[in-house]
């Protein structure tokens, strides 16, 4: 599903911040991406998300070499991925319902075809009563759950989540982890970037990708 071969990244003429990354993410797999703050977890997620280009090496995504793809194909690949940002990135002028429906709307789908599904997703993440609320009046946890619902609404093949439980209390964090695990059982590969050891300990079976000093260590 995702394949990195000797990938390196540097900004401008600076030192390489990621070096010789070689790994793959298989379909239906579950992994935590961890490491100290500033180790490059978000940068690695951005490489997978195609919002950064490597300075060397090869990235394969869903069987394609991404360096050879045109923009339309890249958009198609991006639609197979769901992403939860650390800072939520909800649009403040849209209601929660409209934010969660956004990935379907930009694909040109008719609202009547997804209305029930979006409402159901919002209930699933515990926001059924706040469908018409706007993000500025929500708590951090509510925003986080809305961002997760938005990432999952397209039933992605690959879910990338950057510190998804960073703003949540431990019980809500456990609940969301169970949600990710359930999604994984339904067939979505999951990558969760976190430095929350307690969270990782709740899913011992998950693979751990540990970033340190620009290199990646994998613990199966």
């Amino acid at each position: 599903m995702v394949r990195f071969e000797n990938v390196g990244l540097r900004y401008g003429m600076g030192p390489e911040i990621l070096r010789d990354l070689s790994f793959s993410i298989e379909p239906r797999s579950f992994q935590f991406l961890t490491g100290p703050s500033g180790a490059g977890k978000t940068t690695l997620l951005r490489l997978i998300l195609l919002s950064l280009r490597p300075t060397r090496g090869l990235i394969g995504l869903f069987g394609h070499d991404v360096s050879r793809l045109d923009k339309d194909t890249l958009t198609g690949l991006r639609r197979r991925m769901g992403v939860v940002f650390q800072d939520f990135r909800l649009l403040d002028h849209l209601t929660l319902y409209e934010n969660v429906a956004l990935p379907l709307r930009v694909q040109g789908k008719d609202e009547s075809s997804y209305r029930a599904e979006v409402t159901e997703f919002l209930r699933w993440v515990g926001l059924g009563e706040r469908i018409h609320a706007f993000p500025p009046v929500l708590s951090g946890g509510e925003k986080q759950r809305a961002a997760i619902a938005r990432a999952l609404i397209v039933k992605p093949d690959l879910l990338l989540a950057d510190e998804p439980t960073g703003n949540l209390d431990p019980s809500l964090a456990r609940r969301l982890l169970r949600l990710f695990m359930e999604l994984n059982r339904l067939g979505t590969a999951v990558v969760i970037a976190t430095h929350d050891i307690a969270l990782m300990d709740q899913h011992d079976d998950a693979r751990r990708l540990v970033l340190g000093e620009g290199r990646l260590h994998i613990y199966e």
Partner: protein, 318 residues
């Protein structure tokens, strides 16, 4: 106060939603930068519209000056050797009437000719002893070329003391002056249009700067570049047309009011002077059309600049 603000926000969002056929626009319509952009577009369109209309006004006024002078010629008959001048005047007028392209001929009487000199020589003088030339005013038909060369030759053959003055020197001077004024007006219009384009382009880019987050989110949730560019372009095009309509409408209103005001001042010395210079401020359909074209130009420019900015932003994301 807070409740009023919330109610206003709800109403604004409801209006935006209604304008989009039920779905909330992806680009917030009522942002502060959006309002500022509409204001900039309206002001620049108003100024550009005024300049375009004024250029049109000056062009048509200069054309009127030229045509009114060019459609009239004068024949001057000088008294010679103490013999009566009336037969010569009648003969010269007859020759003028017989010339092709002449609409009317009016020979000034002796009394009328003397009256023409009164402003310079005063009243109560005996003109009998003075060899006062007599004037014949010949009006030419519009849109036809009169055979002035033939008339000049006929006069020199048959009425040797008659001189034809076709005002050519004056017409040439007026034409040069009018062309210069029109060229200056067009240069000013070009400068104002360039200034409008730059002001609108920079204001649009400024308004777009606050929307980078929206562009990024749309990109990451799977929107194609074309979809994002279309959303922003249509939003900014709408702002452009809003500002263009306000500014263009104000410019049109200005010319309508100016025309009504000059009509009200007619027959006053100031009003006559303004009318002599600019006509009756009657812009004509071409003038109003130029204002509308300027408004459409600024609106299209706003949409295009926003599209370009979105494309540039997307290139920096991926």
């Amino acid at each position: 106060m807070r409740a009023a603000r919330i109610l206003l926000a709800i109403k604004t969002r409801r209006d935006e939603r209604r304008a989009h056929g039920g779905a909330m626009p992806l680009v917030p319509a009522a942002s502060i930068s959006g309002r500022a952009l509409v204001t900039v577009i309206a002001i620049m369109t108003f100024l550009a519209g005024l300049t375009a209309g004024a250029a049109q006004l000056v062009a048509s006024a200069s054309s009127d000056w030229r045509s009114s002078v060019a459609t009239e010629i004068t024949i001057q008959v000088r008294p010679v050797g103490g013999r009566p001048v009336d037969p010569d005047v009648a003969r010269a007028a007859g020759l003028a009437r017989a010339t092709e392209g002449v609409e009317s001929v009016r020979a000034y009487t002796r009394e009328e000719s003397e009256r023409l000199l009164e402003p310079w020589l005063g009243t109560g003088l005996a003109f009998d002893e003075l060899p006062i030339p007599r004037l014949i005013v010949v009006k030419l038909k519009d849109g036809q070329t009169a055979d002035l060369a033939g008339l000049r030759k006929a006069l020199s053959d048959q009425v040797r003391n008659a001189v034809l003055d076709d005002h050519r020197v004056w017409v040439q001077r007026l034409a040069t002056m009018a062309q210069t004024i029109v060229v200056i007006a067009l240069c000013v219009l070009a400068l104002v249009l360039v200034a409008t384009a730059l002001a609108v382009a920079f204001a649009t880019r400024g308004a777009m700067a606050g929307n980078r987050d929206i562009i990024e989110v749309l990109h990451f949730v799977g929107a194609s570049d074309g979809y994002i560019a279309d959303e922003f372009q249509s939003h900014f095009l709408r702002l452009g047309f809003e500002g263009g309509a306000l500014g263009g409408g104000a410019a049109v209103l200005f010319f309508i009011v100016a025309r009504a005001a000059t009509a009200a001042w007619t027959a006053t010395p100031g009003g006559d002077q303004i009318e002599a210079l600019f006509g009756s401020f009657a812009l004509g359909w071409a003038g109003y059309l130029s204002v509308v074209v300027v408004a459409i130009f600024t609106a299209l420019l706003t949409g295009l600049v926003s599209r370009g900015t979105v494309r540039r932003t997307l290139r920096t994301i991926a």
